[in-house]
Symmetry: C2
Subunit: 332 residues, 2 copies
């Protein structure tokens, strides 16, 4: 009996569904980063994934398993941004309507991109809410029930988790043995899928999660042995402003993740600047979490071969420009 929501076969099946649809993103190296950390770092550039983040993998994997009846009525999603775009794009590719519940203060670029993906798909729309006062899950479930839409949550769904795991599967299959894998943690969709894939291929690999300092709910949950809920964390890592791990993701994290570290917003900004200056890559704040842990010294991985997921690159250019222009922390 497998007590976890997904197994390796689910990730493998997701990889087959995504073949030729998702990008096989490049693995980037940096002599400077290796020299600074004493490790060999392999950056999986999911900022170059379709719609700019790993989220496409999980969304497409979930939507491609809809029944014809589900497909006809469409999908509903609530998301702080990248999951929204991922669902909207996947829905368009699979020719179904999408309704996206997004926070009013979501990055403008993510809102615009979501609407762009929906533009040619009848019955599609964006519904806005106030994330500091309203409960997105309640709103989402109400609309889904009213319109007969299938709700796909941003992380706590086996098909979503399995899809995200294909990022680690590709990385491991491309670079071979790794001693450690660093993955950002929001609700745990990415790290749970990646942990299942990585630990199957490399049983000795240490899977390490990284959260923003202000939003270390998963770190607390692991220490407590149960899911801890926190207030909406104030961090520039908008993709990791989750309040708790999921019912499906947390047991996988408990079983397969060695530990969870945290980094500060200031460290995220330094890391964003590093990627712009040295690797010529635009990486969003959340996308810098895993890399910041090793580049900014939250963990010493000297002598190890280390996979690092750069989870996405979707950031308002005006805000990104602010990050590049200053090393000081912007309060938000």
């Amino acid at each position: 009996m497998n007590p976890l929501a997904i197994g390796f076969a689910d990730v493998e099946a997701a990889a087959a569904r995504l073949a030729g649809v998702a990008h096989r993103t490049p693995v980037l190296r940096s002599r400077t980063a290796d020299a600074r950390t004493g490790a060999q770092l392999f950056f999986k550039a999911e900022n170059q994934q379709r719609m700019g983040a790993f989220k496409f993998r999980g969304a497409y994997n979930a939507l491609s398993q809809f029944t014809p009846a589900q497909r006809q009525r469409g999908v509903l999603a609530f998301s702080s941004g990248n999951h929204a775009q991922a669902i909207a794009l996947s829905a368009r590719l699979l020719d179904m309507p999408s309704v996206i519940v997004m926070p009013q203060d979501a990055p403008a670029a993510k809102l615009a991109a979501t609407r762009e993906y929906q533009a040619e798909q009848p019955g599609s729309e964006v519904v806005l809410y106030d994330r500091y006062r309203e409960d997105r899950e309640a709103i989402g479930r109400r609309i889904a029930a009213e319109r007969g839409l299938t709700l796909i949550p941003p992380y706590d769904h086996p098909h979503v988790m399995a899809g995200q795991g294909t990022a680690a599967l590709e990385l491991v299959d491309e670079v071979g043995t790794l001693d450690a894998l660093l993955v950002c943690v929001g609700g745990g969709g990415l790290i749970s899928g990646c942990a299942v894939a990585a630990k199957h291929r490399l049983p000795d690999i240490q899977v390490i999660g990284v959260e923003p300092e202000a939003g270390n709910d998963t770190q607390q949950s692991l220490a407590r042995g149960e899911i801890v809920h926190i207030d909406v964390p104030q961090t520039i890592a908008d993709g990791a402003q989750t309040q708790a791990s999921g019912q499906h993701t947390f047991p996988v994290i408990q079983a397969l993740v060695a530990r969870v570290l945290t980094v500060s917003d200031a460290q995220l900004i330094t890391t964003m600047r590093f990627f712009a200056e040295r690797l010529k890559q635009v990486v969003e704040p959340t996308g810098c979490l895993a890399a910041a842990a090793v580049l900014e010294g939250a963990v010493d991985l000297r002598g190890q071969r280390v996979g690092v997921i750069l989870s996405g690159g979707n950031v308002d250019l005006a805000r990104y420009a602010q990050f590049l222009h200053t090393t000081h922390l912007e309060t938000r």
Copy 2:
């Protein structure tokens, strides 16, 4: 008799010297760019080359052909930036001293990077000059003569030209048939090498040069049938602030380049923003020249397969942040 400074065999030999030393940079695609232009665009990402620009190819190809005596004394280069870093890095890799003559107002990032590459190499230094009042060639030649250094100019040298051509060779060998190739033009080192490589592999390909509006000396030279000298052009494309094509590069351009187009600084900024937002790539202003021509409509290549060289990604982050933050043209 081959009247041109280089032939295809020179590019091929350069490729062999660069194998395992230079990065084989990725070729990027963009559905958005293809949809907007009606063409199939293949972006050769030389912003991901070592030291952040194609210039490494030519510099390393030249320095690796030094005699032991030349190598012992070292190399001298004058450059507005990327050639400087390319020479400094190549000299370090080949264990020889480098003296770099750079303008006082070169981007701080390029100056710092050059000094960083030189740091471990005894006898190496940066010499600054005023590019609006002094003649860098005169300064360079004087120092080279005094210290017995071999001068490697930024573009007008067969070994440099042949090295740069390997960028187009890799692109063509990776993507197959192309109808057109867009290449930025400063002194003509990149486009001459690329034209030799591309026209050998694909005799029917149209090689198109792109200059900044303010610095269209090559366009003027082709119209006049002889090398035209202009004042130092005021443009954000600092890598194309050249005053004239070279004695070696111009005949190649005359023989193999179909035409030269121009784009404005405002179009370069729009293109820089496009690469940050859509492809998550940091591309410097000069590196956007070729792409801007097709993305901003200076040329209609509908229905064609088009190679586009993104020549580099070295830009001061503070300045880059300004470009991203506004669509208005910054005067310089």
